[in-house]
Amino acid sequence: MATRGFFGLRRPEPPREIPPGQYFETGFPTLTAGPTPRVDTDTWSFSITRAKSPLATWTWDQMMELPQEKITVDLHCVTKWSKLDSEWKGISFDTLLEAVGEVTEEYVMIGSYGGYTTNLPLDDVTDGKAWLAFEFEGEPLERNHGGPARFLVPHLYLWKSAKWVNSIELMDQDAPGFWEASGYHMRGDPWREERYWGD
């Protein structure tokens, strides 16, 4: 049923369809549950772990030697804004997974400097769907947007694209991360409007 007197501004008009309940945003808002961590590339490290033991670890310099990709993707935040055609440079998660050999686990938990976590099915971060991203619009990624490096899983709500990422734990069973434990959806597909538990 319509809301009395509401017709919708619908401006600016998005150049193409965006997911339900979202509006077109031309800026880049930031959302973080705590202070912005200070992460220095001199001491930065990133690991893929199993039962919390590292299977592979990279320093910043080692990471920068891996093949890089430029990608243009749309971002959808659960707080209702969608940003279209954002340009990133990063390393495909497929490239990182090559370093650890056979993976039988079906889920991952992304971990970050500052303690943030978010869970994902492995299928959502493989086959060219997820990146370790360190450049935005041609510039090094700013601290407030997750610099020096964030995870990027653009087909899911943006809370899955963890900022200040430093680890990926392989898991046999799914488990809730930071927001997922507080009522947010375990998968978070914006096109299915999976915002909260039960959506």
């Binding site: 809301t3 009395r4 808002p29 549950a33 705590g34 202070p35 804004w81 927001w179 909260y196 039960g198």
Partner: protein
């Protein structure tokens, strides 16, 4: 423990003019679920052709207010939803809402304190829910609020904040104005500063306070940095950022 967050019908029971840019909307919700101060609701507006707009707004009222929630909404002139609330919504209207939503940025009296609340502009709204809850629950948790606003007329809940302070020696409310020209203002001026944070922590007698920071991104970034620099542990600082497009 998992439960669905369902859309519910809310009826606008009262509209309160708070400041020239903010109004509070008292919404009655049948079987209103319990909530914790700091949580928010999603509202969903539907146009005759089916087009929908959703936004999130923090709860301003205390969980003790049975059957109702208050949302204090600042108007963003270029926005889509806040001008609708300010210019179109009347008492008796029906709005679709769902909530409560949000976990880390919440406080209940049984989790204790002391509390350091840092508000920028309408970021005071969820912190007001905490103060109202503290009072309604009869909590004696020592609490310091630093509230940065533009000018005196922009200060939301000014009288109520003054009452909390005058009626309870465990509460300290500091308002600092960033753009007040009136020489008659005798309170603090300028942005939140190391001195204001240090004074608040001295009142709380510890740097190990539970800190809640809410406001525009720039305010939250600056205030959280100052709290960290003053010695508050990283994990004790919870933030909620109202984006530049919080329309």
């Amino acid at each position: 423990m998992q439960h669905r967050v369902l859309w519910q019908k809310a009826i606008v029971e009262e509209i309160i003019d708070e400041t020239p840019r903010t109004k509070s909307f008292r919404l009655r919700i049948d079987d209103r679920p319990p909530f914790r101060s700091g949580q928010h609701y999603d509202v969903r507006l539907t146009a005759p052709d089916g087009y929908q707009a959703q936004r999130s707004y923090s709860i301003a009222s205390a969980p003790e207010s049975e059957g109702v929630i208050d949302l204090t909404i600042e108007i963003i002139e270029s926005g889509e939803v806040s001008p609708f609330f300010h210019q179109v919504v009347k008492v008796g209207d029906e709005i679709k809402m769902r909530g409560p939503i949000g976990g880390p940025f919440t406080w209940t009296s049984d989790t204790g304190g002391p509390l350091l609340l840092l508000a920028g502009g309408s970021g005071v709204v969820p912190l007001m829910s905490m103060l109202r809850h503290r009072s309604a629950a009869g909590s004696s948790v020592r609490t310091a609020l630093i509230y940065s606003a533009r000018t005196t007329v922009d200060v939301i809940y000014r009288d109520e904040l003054g009452n909390f302070e005058s009626e309870d020696t465990e509460v300290r409310s500091t308002i600092t104005l960033t753009r007040e020209d009136d020489a008659g203002w005798t309170g603090e001026r300028g942005r939140v500063s190391t001195r204001l944070i240090d004074d608040a922590l001295a009142f709380l007698k510890t740097t190990n306070a539970k800190v809640f920071v809410c406001g525009p991104d720039g305010f939250v970034e600056a205030a959280a940095e100052l709290a960290l620099a003053a010695g508050v542990p990283f994990q004790s600082i919870k933030t909620e950022r109202f984006g530049p497009s919080g329309t």
